[in-house]
């Protein structure tokens, strides 16, 4: 056998051996070792090539080509084996990493915004979008802001209906009380504006806590109101209706009809109770609306000229509307909450369920 033939047969044996060993490899690490063993710098293939020196100049390129063929074949076989093994290994790892995904997730403590706060936020946002500015006022009030300036003089029958909480007062002190409605913010805002040299237009939304000395199933001694008012030239009752309609439909996320009924409040003239189409039965009549198809939701009206007078606004030039929303009532209607007392019992199960 010539030198070249014996080299070739040596290479063929090597190739066969190598290919056989590749199929035996069970993991990528073993395969890597085989790669080094056969194709590495000091590998078997290089070893065989040491015999090339014995060949003639004509034979060398022939054997070179042959070696390259073997090398390519081995490389291809190694790559193929590697690909197969890595797919298998990945599949194995995936199998090993398999979870019982029905186990509970790591529990984060669930917080919640109180439903009344949520209601206040929603209501204020709607009015803010309509251009109303948010204002606040004190809860410990005096009689001037809570009553007198709102056209409810001392002997007025409406004053008795307010069930006011009073504070113990020193002799010289003006009587202090807990505000019975958010309407004093109307007075403070308008008066503040006029006293600092301003004039209307004013468009204000005033959220806050109010207090009435009344405590039973349907009354809480503390609750929340949102006072809304606008004073400008030519503000009319039609604007009042427009704002109410927009607000109620936005808040309840439904196009609801509204209905105004004449009523009496000392601080508005004309005054109106506002009904909204029942959100539960779409006006057909149900237990909650007592079959009427309407829900009474708030009191409203055109600001009484005596109120404007009390804060120094000329009622022959300016007019305005005002209304007060009972926050708890609207939240109860929106979410079907049956009992006012739930809001102040603060049971976290209720709050987590209802809160946002």
């Amino acid at each position: 056998m010539s030198e070249i033939d014996s080299l070739k047969s040596e290479l063929r044996v090597l190739e066969e051996q190598a290919l056989a060993s590749f199929t035996q490899a069970t993991d990528l690490l073993a395969l890597q070792a085989l790669r080094v063993q056969y194709l590495g710098k000091k590998g078997a293939l290089t070893n065989v090539l040491k015999g090339v020196g014995r060949l003639s100049a004509e034979e060398r390129p022939v054997i070179g080509q042959f070696v390259n063929q073997v090398k390519d074949a081995l490389t291809a076989a190694l790559d193929a084996a590697e690909a197969t093994l890595s797919v298998a290994e990945k599949a194995k790892r995936i199998e090993a990493e398999r979870l019982d995904i029905t186990l509970a997730g790591r529990k984060a403590n669930k917080g919640a915004i109180h439903p009344v706060q949520q209601g206040l936020n929603e209501m204020c946002a709607i009015f803010a979008q309509m251009g109303f500015e948010i204002a606040e006022g004190p809860e410990v009030e005096d009689e001037f802001h809570n009553f007198d300036a709102l056209n409810i003089p001392q002997e007025h029958p409406a004053r008795a209906m307010h069930d006011t909480f009073f504070f113990h007062a020193d002799e010289a002190q003006q009587a202090k009380l807990l505000r019975t409605h958010t309407s004093p913010v109307q007075i403070r805002t308008m008066k503040g504006c006029v006293d600092s040299g301003g004039q209307p237009p004013l468009a204000v939304v005033a959220p806050g806590r109010v207090y009435r000395c009344d405590y039973d199933v349907t009354h809480s001694p503390m609750f929340h109101q949102v006072e809304v008012f606008k004073v400008d030239k030519d503000v009319s009752m039609a604007h009042l209706k427009g704002v109410l309609k927009h607000f109620l439909s936005t808040y309840f996320e439904k196009d609801l009809p509204i209905r105004l009924r004449p009523h009496y409040f000392p601080f508005t003239e004309p005054s109106a109770e506002v009904d909204v189409g029942c959100v539960f039965c779409a006006g057909k009549g149900c237990r909650i609306c007592k079959g009427s198809g309407w829900l009474e939701v708030l009191g409203s009206g055109m600001i009484h000229p005596n109120v404007l007078k009390a804060v120094g606004i000329d009622s022959s030039v300016y007019s305005g509307f005002a209304f007060g929303l009972g926050v708890e009532r609207l939240v109860m209607l929106k979410h079907g909450i049956p009992d006012l007392r739930l809001f102040f019992e603060n049971d976290v199960r209720f709050l987590r369920r209802m809160g946002a």
Partner: protein, 786 residues
Amino acid sequence: MKIPFSWLKEHVQLTKAPKDIADDLVRLGHEVESIALPQAGVLGVRIGQILDMKPHPDADKLKLLKLDLGEAEPLAIVCGASNMKQGDKVPVATVGTNLPNGLTIKQGKIRGEVSFGMCCSVAELGLAEDADGLLILPTDAPVGMEVGAYLELEEAVLDLDITPNRGDCMSARGLARDLAADGNLPLIAPDEEPADVSDSVAVPSVQVTASNDCPLYMARRIEGVAVSDAPDWIKARLLAAGQRSINGVVDIINYTMLDLGQPMHAFDADKLTGGLHVRATVEGESFLALDGREITLHAGNIVIADDKAVVALAGIMGSEHTGVTETTTNIVLESAAFRAALISTTRRTHGLVSESSMRFERGVDPEMIAVAMNQATLLILELFGGSASEVITIGDADTLVKHKVVNTSIARIESRLGLTIPESADDVLNRMGFVVTRKEGLLEVEVPSHRHDVSLAEDISEEYARVIGFDAIPEVLPSLATIKPHAVDTAMSSATAAGFVQVINYAFISPAEQRLFTAADDKDLVLQNPISDAMSVMRRSVWPGLLNTAKHNMNRQQAGVMLVEQGRVYEKFDTEKNKETNVIAWLMTGQIQADAWYAKANKADFFDLKGAVEAWLENRGLVARFMAEENKLGLQAGQCAKIFVGKAVVGFIGKVDTDIASNFDLASDVFVAEINLDVLNAGKKAKFQPIPEFPSVERDLVFLFDKKHSSEAILQEVRKAGGQTLVEAGIFDRYIGKGVPEGFVSLGIRFVLQDAKRTLTQDDSDAAMKSIIKAMADKFAAELRG
């Protein structure tokens, strides 16, 4: 106010059904609370006569009755009332009757005695709120008849909520006037035929010295009456209107008031000493009211007095001893006007309320004073005989009924309502008693005397709105004029995002709760008329409320709670001003981590809450410092800190004293914090900073420190020594135990270096480490470990 439908029809020929009339009333501004059909509720209740009455053998308070209901056999009933006697006729609810109060009558045994029904009071018949004793029916009531039919209850009764501005509508006639005008129906005039007057009866002697408060006083004497029960038709009407029958004369007075709206009073003339004097009171005068109460009057009240005593608190209530009774033969009848505001303050001062005062303080129709006097006289003379004197009138009736005039313009009314006013609306107002004149856009409106509530152009606009109907007003959105954008307050949302549940507690707490966290001083705001002692002081800390909420929830199977509340705390500031401060407060107690497949149960500690507060402040762009606080009332020393932002104290955090916690049934440690939002809100908004471009270098050093040094103080020195490039320093490890000498603590300090302009080198970090090691040695004699 309850008014039977038939009564309205006596004043106006209504053609609609009660339900439709109720709708009209609502549209006109009179709230209809209900339309009741009383008979439906008393079907099966029949008139029974008591044949026999014996005490129950086993019960002192019960009686055994035998009642004749017109059947072959008398009915046996056990009854607990005591106001009846043998021979009386009473309403008997027979077996199977459903009473208005929801009771269904069944045959039963009461203490061993069989009972086949129930004898009823007016309350049980649903005709009044309450009653004492059975309703005793007139002697001529037919036995066996349905009570509903007998009392003429077959018709609807409207229950109205008349607003305080419409005193003129607190009568059948007043409501009928609105309905007549609205429906364009004629209002039937009251009986104007004057009562017969006998010259032989002397007019009573009356003197009015308080003419400002009593602008008109009318009185007459009626002699020789024989007072008996009012006729059934009057009694039935009173009953339907929710009023009890007293005696014939009093019933006529009440009937006239409900009919015409004018409250009157009748004195027993023989119980008066001398003439009547309408005058202001002097301080301390006493008055024995109709309900038997002795009232001490203040100066400036207005009363009717005789020569001896106060015989009536004007417009509110007569006295106990001078009222008309069954035995009265001579009467003085009063019909008058009193100043509304005075009646209101007087009755409120003394805690009195009557049908009369309710009408006077809301304003009555002065034109009815004489009409009512005449109508009541006619009825008394017709029913109980006697002869009447002339009427003595003191005061100027003409001035009282003079019509006000309001001048305005159509344009003004239209611009207020956003509506065009048709001339047809003028006609409705005219029918209501107004006199409307339009001339070239100007409007002159004469206001009838009964409309005390109308005096301004705006009042006229309301009248137009009422008669045109609020439904006619269009819905117009005003043009949007954004004045100031509204900043969204994230105080609460960032707290709840961290797992806290927002609660809202009452702003008033008990005095004892106030003292838990606030020492006694003179700054408490104390309610004069609290719901209860537990709700009598305005809170100066939110913590008591949070403790109560924690208690409520922990008693309901919660293993732990994380609560947050935002609201005000209140205190007296000086004599005129009070301070209301907005705060946010947290409470954590019990498990914040339950046993789970991935973790062991874990209870809240100081650092859980501190971390939450720090994160909350960080969300607002603020870095807090905590300084140990030894003397915070209610919090445990050593686990309590003052919270600083910059130089300002913004709040406190700490562990609630365990005695306090156990008073709230809280067994686990309770941690609370409170931050003053008013101080914080004055702070800055977060400013943009570029994200660092060059990498940071992190290094750790472990030292042995004397325990007395706070980590805050140590880190402060680390920051100083670390130089310009030190951006963060913290404790990553804390160890006490083996290898650490007694009184010492091993602290691992990790710091981060970063430069905005270049990548830091090994030399940079070595220099910083060296400087820190030196500083720790110099300031704290701290040794570097391993």
